[in-house]
């Protein structure tokens, strides 16, 4: 194992073998390992390889590939689950990663993005408000008219509806029953929802009670 050139080759080959067990999850890292194995072959010596590494950004491509695969895999999950805002947020991270030219640039740009993005936060905020909204609508079906129960249900509905609209300005009854991240959390069948829709609209229009 005394040849450092062979050691470097073995390092990248070992990584490539590991990434190859799940190639779909490691696309960028596989490309990156292949890039450095090619570079090693072309360099022909450890010294020349090192020079090329320094001239090509001190392996910033590896840091980028690792981050790229992480957020690309996550964006894939959110796209499959149709959580649009979370997927959009990860796609924006991917653009930032692609644009970074140095290690500092990469970490600084991602850090700046984390400070200002609200997409995932708002998606979760809207989702979290939904349970209380459906709960209030359900109880309003049976709360006695003018009762303290009804008042509490109305207060609850309006408080959580306000939160949900802040987090998702496009939310509506139609969106609740069609946007999968919302609809999947609701136990009711479409027929049962038509019953609840009437109360929802009455409450939203201020016609309830």
């Amino acid at each position: 194992m005394g040849n450092s050139f062979e050691m470097q080759k073995r390092y990248f080959t070992s990584q490539l073998k590991q990434f190859g067990t799940k190639p779909a999850l490691n696309r960028a890292r596989i490309n990156d390992c292949e890039y450095y194995l090619d570079m090693l072959e072309e360099a022909g010596s450890p010294g020349e390889f090192k020079t090329r590494i320094q001239q090509t950004g001190n392996m910033v491509s590896t840091a980028k590939a690792e981050s790229f695969d992480r957020y690309d895999n996550r964006a894939f999950i959110y796209e499959e689950l149709e959580q649009e805002k979370k997927a959009e947020e990860d796609r924006l991270r991917l653009e930032i990663i692609k644009s970074a030219e140095t290690h500092t640039d990469l970490s600084q740009k991602l850090e700046d993005f984390e400070q200002k993005t609200k997409l995932s936060f708002n998606e979760n905020k809207a989702i979290n408000a939904l349970g209380s909204i459906m709960n209030a609508i359900f109880h309003l079906q049976t709360d006695a008219k003018g009762s303290g129960d009804e008042e509490r249900s109305l207060v609850k509905f309006h408080a959580y509806w306000k939160l949900m609209r802040e987090a998702d300005p496009h939310v509506s009854w139609e969106k609740i029953i069609s946007y999968k991240p919302y609809r999947d959390r609701i136990i009711f069948t479409d027929e049962q929802l038509t019953v609840l829709e009437k109360v929802f609209r009455e409450v939203c229009d201020g016609r309830h009670s």
Binding site: S4, Q55, R74
Partner: protein, 352 residues
């Protein structure tokens, strides 16, 4: 000098030396980094230990500057050739010793509390064995990849945490918690990379969040009738509560085709009633009513706090055609809920 401090400072010194040929020895950041590293060496030789060194502002500044060197513009190959000196290790591709690459692990190990060290010590012992075995830093990093110790260090605590959560969740009788934690332990035991841990971890958490919220709404909805009766038991037959009970008595039959009897025939609701609700009934209430079982409390509520208030109401009829729920985009009979939550029909999401 403290061995860990020496390793860290050696790694700083190596990094700085490494940039000399590519950035030129007159690079301002490089010169400042060299000054800081040498100053830290002097302090360490004077007896400063790891704590003192790591708290020293020069330590943070040196680390930050070394990070910034990676972004500094490199000299042209001609300029680099003119700056090279005989024996310049940075230009001949010389590989640093394994101790340089392992320095961070020693630092992490030394700063661990005894409790953390008890859990993680075995991984670090293995890492230090590999350090001993390795001829240099590249060999060490290769052995780390091939050995899989870093992967196990990530995976095993996650599996242990899932098993611990399962154990702690025994008395909440939550089918969604049990399913999720069993799945986590099983899935993580089968994966072979950190990428897979991250992928499956995110996916399982998202799916599980849906099921937890779904189940909470289910319990609230199907438990409406006993909840109304329980409110009258607790607060007395106030008009508001009696009105709510009568409305619910009619509504649940019309809406979901269920009456009191269907509620107490539902396996998911019974799991909650028998194991979560009933154990929380205070002892003085059990004594007051002479009730000693979940079934007894169910019958008490029905006989004393439900039936008397709906005796003049039309008798609602169960309607299985309405008794359905929707889970993961499919409609199922309501009484199948517990089976569904024990093995939910989750969407299959795989990346090919």
């Amino acid at each position: 000098m403290d061995a860990t401090v020496k390793q860290i400072l050696d790694s700083f010194r190596f990094s700085v030396d490494n940039y000399t040929s590519s950035l030129g020895s007159d690079n301002e950041k490089l010169m400042r980094a060299k000054e800081l590293v040498e100053s830290l060496y002097i302090k360490a030789e004077d007896g400063a230990d790891m704590m003192a060194i790591s708290m020293d502002p020069e330590f943070g500044a040196a680390g930050a500057l070394i990070g910034e060197l990676a972004a500094e513009p490199v000299l042209t190959p001609e300029e680099q050739a003119s700056t090279e000196t005989e024996g310049d290790t940075a230009s001949d591709g010389a590989v640093p010793p394994a101790s340089i690459a392992a320095a961070g692990y020693h630092m992490a190990y030394d700063s661990m509390t005894p409790a953390v060290r008890e859990k993680q010590g075995r991984y670090y012992s293995r890492i230090f064995e590999l350090e001993e075995e390795a001829e240099n830093a590249v060999h060490f990093n290769t052995l780390l990849v091939e050995d899989g110790v870093l992967f196990e260090m990530s995976r095993e605590p996650l599996i242990e945490a899932a098993k611990e959560t399962l154990k702690q969740a025994e008395d909440i009788y939550s089918p969604t918690v049990n399913y999720q934690q069993e799945l986590v332990a099983e899935t993580y035991a089968e994966v072979s990379s950190i990428t897979e841990l991250e992928f499956h971890g995110t996916l399982m958490a998202e799916l599980s969040n849906v099921e937890h919220e779904w189940d909470a709404l289910f319990i609230e909805v199907i438990g409406l009738l006993p909840t109304c009766a329980q409110a009258i038991e607790a607060f007395g037959p106030m008009d508001d509560l009696v009105g709510k009970l009568r409305n619910s008595h009619r509504f649940m039959a019309e809406f979901m085709g269920i009456t009191w009897n269907e509620v107490f025939a539902d396996p998911r609701y019974l799991l909650f009633w028998n194991n979560v609700f009933w154990p929380r009934i205070p002892a003085e209430k059990r004594t007051k009513y002479g009730v000693n079982s979940a079934e007894g409390w169910r019958d008490l509520l029905k006989e004393k706090f439900y039936d008397p208030f709906v005796k003049d109401e039309p008798v609602p009829q169960p309607d299985p055609s309405k008794a359905h729920v929707r889970l993961w985009r499919k409609v199922f009979p309501l009484h199948k809920t517990l089976d569904l939550l024990n093995d939910p029909p989750r969407p299959v999401i795989e990346r090919h």
